[in-house]
Amino acid sequence: MPATDYQGSSVPFASLGRSILSIRRDQVHSMDGHDPSTEQELESFQRRVSDLFADLSSSPDQILSLAWIRKLLEGFLVSLEEFRVILFNHRAAVTRPPLDRMVSDFFERAVKALDLCNAVRDGVGQVCQWNKHVEIVVQSLASWCEVDESGAKKTRPFGEGQLRRGKKTLMDLNFLIMDEKESASASHRNRSFGRSKDPHKSSSSSPSHLSSGVHFRSLSWSVSRTWSAARQLQNIAANLNAPRGHDVTATAGLAMPVYTISTVLVFTMWALVAAVPCQDRGLQIHFSIPRNGFVWSPALLSLHEKIVEESKRKDRRNANGLMKEIYQIEKSSHQLLELLDGVEMPMGEEKENQLKNSVQELENVCEILKGGLEPLERQIREVFHRIVRSRTEGLDSLSHGNE
């Protein structure tokens, strides 16, 4: 199987770079175009996709969590890989109409996903930055709960300095999150540094103390002012319709996996845009999936509905991203800020406990993000590479399939 073909190489991406020609060389004797087990093969692909969405739906409270997103991407990669094998096994059939058109149509959609991958990677970087601030909040507020020299579990009272530090950081964080919300619409995007060109002039004429988080504001890095994740999503999803009966027969059933992988692609990209901050987010796409047409469609449609519902919730309507952890950061940091606003030293036991709870919540999210964002970024990059690679191979087999 081509899937195992790139094991044992020290360079993961480079090994993907092997062309279909070389694979063909290795496989040409073991796989002859026509395989009696085609039906089985196609069925197992449908089952694979169905398992993926069943798994993603299994714990509803985990939907849109970082771990869930990573699972989705992993599932997409596996599905894409299997699809690649199917294309390879039927390379002769792929060159004939109408399948050739369907396959190249899929790759056209897939290429549109590449820009989304890049935009979402930038968004992940943004969340990473927010998490640094969460880290400071946790550092300043949690250190008071645990430090002890003899090892005994003692708690110290919150010190005023650390409380102020925590509060300032929460405000910085708040600023950054609000700032992103404001600039999330494309029209506000390309700002430059939020300060005057000559910092010294301004510092001598006005107080140099900058209380909000402008120090941590990132310069916009988008491809262009008019680029829109929402529009890109719509382009990917445009005119994606389930194959009709005669198309299925004309392609010996192969129209089904092409439609399936296209739908998985659209859903994956849609969910990414839903979860992660990026330029001009928007989730309005048309999913015309026959509810009972495929083993996986009920699970996928219900996930779709749940995410749409989530996006319409009052407190999420203006969210930067629906990723569960982003929501938790926003929620806990608001709570904390409110608590700290009304706090008087020394604070009462109840207040202190509330404070500790919020800090604990924030600490949990912080740890999850700290461990998961970087792998997520890499995974998105991997999705990018795999799409490029399978497209090159796919187009190659479309043009040379009969050789």
Binding site: V11, F13, D115, E160, S192, H209, L210, S218
Partner: protein, 668 residues
Amino acid sequence: MEKSERRLIPQKSNSFSFSSHRNKLQRTLSLGFINPNSNEKKTAEFLKNHIKEGHKNKKSENEPNNKNADNAEEANHILKFATLLQEIDLFLATVNDLEQPAEPPPELPEPVISKFLDMVEKVITKYCSGDEPWVPEDDDHPLLATINRVAIINSEIIKHYSNSKYTRIIDRSGSILHRCMVFLEDEFHLLLLEDHNANLCCIIPPPPKETEGNSEKPSLPYTSKIVERLRGIADSMISAGYVTECCQAFATARHNAFRSIISSLGYERSSIDDILRMPWEALEGQIPMWIKSCQHTIKEVIPCERELVEKVFSCNSKFSSDFFQNLAREAIIYHLTFPEAVVMTTQSIEKLFKVLDMYETLKESELLIDSLLLSEGEADDDPSLSYNLDLKSEVKSTRLYLGEAAVAIFCDLERSIKDDSSRSAMPGGAVHPLTRYVMNYLKLVCEYKNTMEHIFKEHYKPAHHNDDAADDNNNPFAAELTKLMDLLNENIEEKSRLYKDVSLSYIFLMNNGGYMGQKIKGSEEISMLLGASWARKRFSELRQYHKNYQRETWTKILACLKDDGLTVKGIVQKTVLKERFKSFNSMFEDIHRTQSAWVVSDEQLKSELKISVSAVLVPAYRSFTGRFEQHLGSGRHREKYIRFSPEDIEKYIEDLFEGTPMSMPRRR
């Protein structure tokens, strides 16, 4: 230096000598720092210098020439501050002298600490209000050293948290430390904005770096004074535990600076969608800008950022390397999208050279990244190693995409040659445009000989595998080139059959072969790649064409000048002789008329042809006329048969192959 030391000694009637105090202080400061990663010795050195400055200032206040009434209050204030500092340092030294943490900890000199904190608060309020900018170089009180003391005091008195009578002072020191840190963060941020590269870039394009000569070291975006100040603040913030704030401020500012530098280099990040829709002419124009940006980033920007972060965060190598890796990753992946998208555009023959340019840029980048990222002896289990390898493989994978595309484009030339089957012959047997195109293209490709050889070794999979193709030459590029040349030859031979006149088809073959030979001779790379035996084979083919031409055109006419059949029993047959002359004349006229319209554009080939024709024809004609003209009588009758003198023949041969049809006058 010596002077100030000498001045310091007699200045104060303290109960302890300054030098012993200083030793203690040095120890205190070096041990009292919170951050275990900090470069203790350097930090202590830095602080020591600042403390010395403080003493110097205090001394100068006692100098009689500074008795200005306006300054009197301030002088008093400074004096009090200095005394307070010494008391604080004494306390810190005492605390530090304890071998083990005392239980309970020694009493705090609360009034002294409180007064000290009041003083610090005043200073920090003054600076925060913006009334007076902080200029560390003429700092009355070495602010950073003072803030560092606040941090040490803070960490010291926190130990008393269980003693409720200290709650107030603990809170106070904590909040003052926080105010100091907020102030330093602002200062740090403002200093970071003084990036002269970024500021310049907003207005004018950066100066061409090449003109700066061989100064290998990239110049930092800040003056060394600012770098020093940044480092001081970073040290201070990190030792006070504000490491994340400091690192974040730095990372944000430098990432932003990087982004604005990149945008100023002229290469704009485009979406892949846009790149795929762009016409090649537009895309082609972007490629040199991309190359410039990529090279500048890897050669200048990244090393420079690395140097900067290592200087500013000398006390935190973990952050230095994290920051540097993140920036490098951002910078590199940013530059990879473009070639990845270019590879995805429809491939065509004219794209090869730009693809090769990009390939070479990435190849070079890979080497630089190697030396940049893997230079410091990293242990095998260092997670950053896998990180760096990952980044390297990112670049490599994009380079491989480009390489694959280059092979595909180049091999596509095979198809172009095979498919070129125009049905009309080139007039005059001239060099065919296909020959011109292919040879000039190959000549350009061979300017990338080393790169092409490299790429072919990496990627080339001959379509007809298991053939001997792989073994007959271990240079697959040379093999492909030879194959292309053979294909071109075949095609040209095919085209030569379009000529009805066999002689002309040989001229056509000679012309095209000559053109190829000339191009090959003109390019050392092609000659090397095709090899001597290939060239010899081609040369002998050319000679054969030449011979064939001579045979086809001139054998028949030479037969007119032969003695055979001219005499019967020693008597010259006049009618036969007359016939011979008549047919010679008409044949020669014919040849002259047609072949003067033929084209041989290579001067050398042309003169070789003419010389070889003359060398055969003229002596034969001279001798024939010399021997037989007497038999034709004299006068007009003779002239009717001997129309040309040998010199005329020579002259008319000169007219051949010039591409302009000539006719000779019927009569002279």
